[in-house]
Symmetry: C2
Subunit: 80 residues, 2 copies
């Protein structure tokens, strides 16, 4: 079963890498970029029987390893 | 106008970070993870008049800065 995790910084947390991308784009002449956001996406292929188990397990993975809940928010998607 | 860029490694290119995630998940007891893939997602807010211009511009950004076309493939999505 596939699971897609999208991890992004919480609102108000500065993202230096996104700032760097915005600055580099501007110095290349792309001067109409109003905002840059980065999202880390992790796609898992899991050997589980049902969606509920998958979601519960992926949530535990996020809390214990994949995301930093202090500064990051995550969304879990389990495509049908 | 929003643009979403999804950048992933081309097939056959090793991803040490994904391997590390898989290894860490296993050592935490999640032993049913068959595969881990990472996707870098960049969301831009652009000041452009129309979709075609946006797409053309974002493609140029990918080729010149955001992606490494030798090892990475990218997809551009411009939500309506």
């Amino acid at each position: 079963m596939k699971a897609i995790i999208s991890i992004s910084l919480r609102g108000g947390v500065l993202d230096p890498e996104a700032r760097a991308i915005a600055g580099s784009l501007e110095s290349l002449g792309f001067d109409n970029v109003r905002d840059v956001r980065r999202v880390r996406r992790i796609e898992l292929d899991l050997d589980v029987a049902d969606r509920d188990t998958a979601e519960e397990q992926v949530r535990a993975m996020c809390e214990r390893l994949l995301a930093n809940p202090v500064i990051e928010a995550y969304e879990i998607e389990i495509p049908a």
